[in-house]
């Protein structure tokens, strides 16, 4: 799969098997990972915090368990990066915002608990667009992330750090979060497989909220099978999240072994015809052809309301966000900038703590909910959302999955779009509909552009039908990404001996 010498860490299943079988120790993997991050991340800036002490301790615990003959979890020894909007107890969690700089939560997010229970080694917190608002990771208060495929290009966002770290072979896999495409779009820009599960499939407890009715935690990994294993570990009912689905978890890894014969793949012809980028059109055509060769049937479907996705999303998400971010007020945690009185303290704290995109969305959301505008904006958008759900229901009466590009173009250059918010928002047009409809959607690489940049293709399924997403995307991967090309940037091996052992050195 990957060229030897370029990948000191390895993929999820590869590492898990190697550790289970004893070919590698978890500690060795963790040390290699941290060394690689130290050497390679300065160019990418995909990590905001590396928890060396925690990682080495977790790795040592896996090795000890194995030595004691205990059963190992499905992710035992696998080094994972976690987006910095997921709470990790005692470890800085900043949402890439000044308002939470240095904040250490007193509890773990539900998905973090699941990772730990599965034996995963959480190596650190990855960079993101501030409060998950953005499509390029240029909105981080602590500096942008660079796409390992071309360092002058954006990795996508908001889970840019997670995508870059996985693509750059710094970790086996990473967790991101997806509200309007924030896992799928950077997945596409960075050539990794990324899935946004059905709303409610994965618990949001401990995910710092952006838009509560849209947010979902999603894994990013180098291969479809790796992604499937991760999602299986993360999924399931959590009584601490009232929007969590009480429903058995599918067998996603197993689904990767099924074939796509007779699978009906829906394609929205209008949508495809509007794609102007020739590389994207070509790779999507490749994917359609690949599925057809493998036995799938292609049918035409329509999603007439999808064209309003941007308008719906940029009314609903900021409205919910404006409310979710009200708690960042300098009273109980985070940044406080003192003012002359209470009101001034609120205003100055939030002005100093939030970046421009966050402020823009808070303003937009506050306005959309305010007296006199609620009906015309927020409520209207929610009604159009119902029409979109009906569109999908009608489409799924005729197909099993809907295929589309993930993004209108491959990764754009850093700085290209940061002048015009609307231009940036347009990067999400293909990913917004599934989020608005609460449906599961996966992005998987379908090849490279002429310039050597990855192009992703997206598959959407009905609620809780993630299994068929893995089946179909594995077929695409087999045909178009079998050799899993690596970016030009290859994580240097780094010096493992410089990594302190678990027995007592301070972490960065």
């Amino acid at each position: 799969m990957t060229r030897p010498g370029e990948d000191a860490v390895g993929g999820v299943i590869d590492v898990a098997e190697a550790v289970r079988g004893g070919a590698r120790s978890a500690l060795e993997v963790a040390e290699a990972c941290i060394a690689g991050i130290r050497a390679g991340d300065p160019a990418l800036h995909s990590f905001l915090y590396v928890d060396e002490e925690g990682a080495l301790a977790a790795a040592a615990a896996v090795d000890a368990a194995r030595a004691a003959g205990e059963a190992l979890g499905p992710l035992a020894g696998v080094p994972i990066g976690v987006k910095d909007n997921l709470c990790t107890a005692g470890v800085p969690t900043t949402c890439a915002s000044k308002i939470l700089e240095g904040y250490r939560p007193p509890y773990d997010a539900h998905v973090i608990e699941r990772l730990r229970d599965a034996g995963a080694v959480i190596v650190g917190k990855t960079n993101l667009d501030e409060f998950a608002m953005g499509s390029s990771n240029e909105n981080s208060a602590f500096g942008p992330v660079h796409n390992p495929w071309a360092l002058d290009r954006a990795p996508g966002g908001s889970s840019g750090g997670s995508a870059a770290a996985v693509a750059g072979r710094l970790v086996s896999a990473a967790l991101g979060s997806d509200t309007g495409g924030s896992v799928r779009q950077p997945g596409a820009f960075c050539g990794v497989t990324a899935i946004k599960p059905t709303y409610g499939r994965v618990s949001r407890y401990g995910l710092i909220a952006f838009a509560s009715s849209l947010d979902q935690v999603g894994p990013l990994a180098r291969s479809v099978r790796d992604c499937a294993r991760l999602l299986e570990v993360l999924s399931g009912y959590d009584p601490r999240d009232a929007t969590s689905a009480v429903r058995p978890v599918g067998q996603y890894e197993r689904a990767c072994e099924r074939d796509v014969r007779k699978l009906r793949v829906g394609v929205v012809r209008d949508e495809l015809e509007q794609v102007q980028d020739p590389d994207v059109r070509a790779r999507v055509d490749d994917a359609i052809a690949a599925l057809e060769s493998a036995g799938a049937d292609v049918v035409e479907v329509t999603l007439p309301t999808a064209r309003y996705g941007l308008s719906m999303y940029y009314l609903i998400a900021p409205a919910e966000a404006s409310s979710n971010l009200a708690r960042f007020d300098g009273m109980r945690y985070g940044l406080r900038v003192a003012g002359a009185d209470l009101t001034a303290t609120y205003e100055r704290t939030r002005a100093a703590g939030f970046g421009p995109e966050v402020k823009r969305r808070i303003m937009l959301g506050t306005y959309a909910l305010s007296a006199g505008y609620y009906d015309a904006f927020y409520l209207k958008a929610q009604k159009v959302r119902t029409l979109l759900r009906r569109d999908f229901a009608a489409a799924f009466a005729r197909c099993d999955v809907v295929l589309s590009p993930t993004t209108p173009t491959p990764a754009f250059k850093l700085g290209d779009k940061s002048g015009d918010p609307l231009q940036m928002y347009l990067a999400d047009i293909f990913t917004l509909p599934a989020a608005l409809a609460g449906l599961p959607a996966i992005s998987t690489p379908a090849g490279l552009s002429a310039a050597g940049l990855p192009v992703g293709v997206q598959l959407t399924a009905p609620a809780f039908e993630e299994e068929r997403l893995f089946t179909a995307s594995r077929a695409v991967e087999d045909a178009l990404w079998r050799d899993a090309p690596a970016p030009a940037f290859a994580a240097p091996r780094g010096d493992r001996s410089a990594v302190s052992s678990a027995a007592g050195a301070p972490s960065r």
Binding site: Y199, S213, A245, Y308, D341, E347, R360, K380, T386
Partner: protein, 96 residues
């Protein structure tokens, strides 16, 4: 959106915007809202809003006391603490 409306919304959202910011915000939000006008064309007569895209069926919680955070941890991130409580700028009406 006018600059005045921007200032009002900023006050509602407790955001201190400088005059430059107000100007930029007025332009940015104006452009975004102009795009949203496309929703006016959509007929939603008789359509219920989607507050939850997927049916939710999680049960309610049993009335049982669960351990709380110990106070030290609860206060650990507070900018100011006094007498075991969060110290905040004075409010005009307090309970006691």
């Amino acid at each position: 959106m006018t600059a005045d409306e921007v200032r009002k919304v900023a006050r509602l959202a407790r955001l201190d915007l400088g005059p430059d910011e107000v100007e930029r915000m007025t332009a940015d939000l104006g452009a975004i809202l102009a795009h949203m006008a496309e929703l006016d064309a959509v007929d939603v007569a008789g359509v219920e809003p989607t507050f939850h895209a997927v049916p939710l069926d999680a049960p309610l919680r049993e009335d049982r006391v669960a351990p709380s955070l110990d106070r030290e941890r609860a206060l650990a991130a507070a900018p100011r603490v006094e007498a075991g409580a969060f110290a905040v700028p004075k409010v005009l009406e307090a309970d006691s």
